[in-house]
Symmetry: C2
Subunit: 329 residues, 2 copies
Amino acid sequence: MSNLPTSVEFHEEGPREGFQMEPKTYPLADRAALIDALSLSGLRQIQVASFVSARAVPQMADTSELFAAIIKRPGTRYTALWLNDNGFERARACEQVDLDGKLMFYTTEPFSQRNNNCSVAEMRERQLGWLDRYIALGIPVEKAYVITAFGCNLGGAVPLSVLTDQVRWLVDACADRRVPLPAVYLADTMGWANPEEIKRRVGAVRAIVPEAQIGLHLHDTRGVGGANVYAALQMGVRLFDSSVAGLGGCPFAGHTHGGAAGNICTEDMVFMCQELGIETGIDLEALIEASLLAERVIGRTLSGHVMHSGSLKGFRAGQRMQEICGAVR
Amino acid sequence: MSNLPTSVEFHEEGPREGFQMEPKTYPLADRAALIDALSLSGLRQIQVASFVSARAVPQMADTSELFAAIIKRPGTRYTALWLNDNGFERARACEQVDLDGKLMFYTTEPFSQRNNNCSVAEMRERQLGWLDRYIALGIPVEKAYVITAFGCNLGGAVPLSVLTDQVRWLVDACADRRVPLPAVYLADTMGWANPEEIKRRVGAVRAIVPEAQIGLHLHDTRGVGGANVYAALQMGVRLFDSSVAGLGGCPFAGHTHGGAAGNICTEDMVFMCQELGIETGIDLEALIEASLLAERVIGRTLSGHVMHSGSLKGFRAGQRMQEICGAVR
C-alpha cells in the first residue's frame, strides 16, 4: 500500500518563476512584499530571483536591490538562481543571498542549447567546474537538478537510461571528490510526467543514490501535476519545488496554444498534504493570503484553486454554514 | 501496488454544468456545435442540459430545442438532468433525450434544503417514488448519486457512516423491488475529497455493493481533482463525470473568494489515462478541438491545461522540435 511521508518540504519558486515570465517588470516594493508574505506562512525556502543578464531578462535586473529590500525571517532561506560565472559572482557578492550549491543537467540537446547554449555533454563537464568551485569556497553541494527528466517538447521522449546515466555520472563525480550528494531533483520542466512514470523514475534514481533525497520540480502543464505529487508522496518523496498561486512557466517550452504552464501550486499542494495528514510546517491561511497578494500584484486571475475556494478550516467547523445559509433550517 | 483499470469511461457534463453557471444565455447554435464537437471525440455520454424551471434557470429554458438541434452520433448517449416531476415529464416528451434512470441522495440538511427544498430524509423517500416510476415506465435504474459524499461547505464534514447509511438504504430499496443497481456515484460537489479519502470511501461503498460499479463525480475546487482521479484509478474505478475545459461549478457552494470550482477537466483526465495506458475510447486531439471551441464560445480563458499546452502526440514524435527549434543543432 502507500508509503506517505510524515512530513514534506515545499521550496517556493513563485517569485523567480512568476516575475521572470511576465513581459513587464513589477515594482520592487510589490515583489518584496510578496516574498515577505510568503515567508510569514512558514515556508522554509524561497527562491527570490535570478542573477542573469539584465539585457536578456530585464525583469531580473534589480535582483540585488530586491534581496536588500526583503525582511529576512529566521527559519526561511532566501535563495537565487544563476546560470553562469558572472551570475554566481553577483549572487556571492550579495550578502543577503543564502547560497545553495546546486548542479544542473540536461537530457536533450535542443533544450540544452536553447537554455544554456551548449551541448548536454558540455553542460555535464561544466558541472565539474561548479563542483570544484563549491568545494573550494566551502559551499556545501546541496542538490543536482536533472532538467526535462521525463520528456521534452523540443527533444521528444527521454529514455529512462538517459536520466539514470546522468545520475550515475554525477554520483561518480561526487564520490571522486568525496563530497556527499544530499538530493537529486527530477524536473518535469514541460509537463511530460504521469503518476506511474513518477514512481518508475523516482524508484530508478533512488536505486542509484539510496542515501540521497529525491526531490521533484513539477509543472502542471497538462493538468496532471497534483496526481504526480500524490504518486511521489506514495513513493515517500519529501521535497517539492512549487509556486504560489501556480505562478510561472517555461518560456521556451513552445506549447501548442501558448497557455498556462506554471509550476505546481504551492498552496493547493500544501492543502492536499495537510488533508492527507502530512506535516508541511506551513500556515495555509497565511499562504492563501500571500497567493491573493500575488494575484493583486500580477493583476489578473491566477491558476491556484484553494486561494479562490478557501481551505476547509472554516467550512469544517461549520461557521460558514451560518453565514451562507442562515435562513435554511 | 496499484490496480489500474484497463479502460475507463468519461461522461461529459460540461454543456450542462458550464452553460448553467454562466450569467448570460449563449446562442443555441453555439451550444449545439459544442455538443456535436464533443460527440465527434468519441465520448460515450454527454449530459446536454437540464429540464428545470425557466424562471429559476433561464439559461436552460430551451433545452428541448437544443436537443432537437444536435446531430446525434451513434455510440453517444445524450442525457439530461431533471430535479422534479415536471422536469422529468419534459425530458420524457423530448424524444431526442436518452433517459437514464438516476437517483439522488444528500448527506447534509442545508445543501438538501438549498438544492431541493426538502430534508435529507424527505429526499430519500422521494427516491422511492422515482424508483417505482422508472420501474413502471420500463426505464432501467442506472445509477444513484450521493451528493457531497466527502463533505459540504454548507453542512461541514460528512462522516463516512452518513454515506454508507444512504448506500445501505438504497441497496435495500432496490432489493425490495428486485431491480439491480448498476452504479453508485460519489459526488465531491464542493471539493472536499483527498486521495486517501477517495480510497477509503470507494472501498467502504464497494464493500456494501460489491456487484455495482463505483463512479465518481469530482470537482477540482481545491486543486486536488487530478490526484483524486489517480487515487480512484488505483482503486479500479472506471466511471468518471467530467467537464470539457473544466467548465462548470456549483452555484451554491459559497466559496470564500468566489473563484473557479469546475468539474475535473475531461481532456486533462483523458490525457492522464492515456499516458497511464488506460483505454478511454476518446480521440484526445478531437476533444482538445472541442475544448478550444468551448473557450471561443464562452469567450474567456478556461481552466483546462492540455487544451493550452497540447498533448504529447506531436512533441513525442519530434516534429515540433523542427518547427520550434529549427535553428538549433
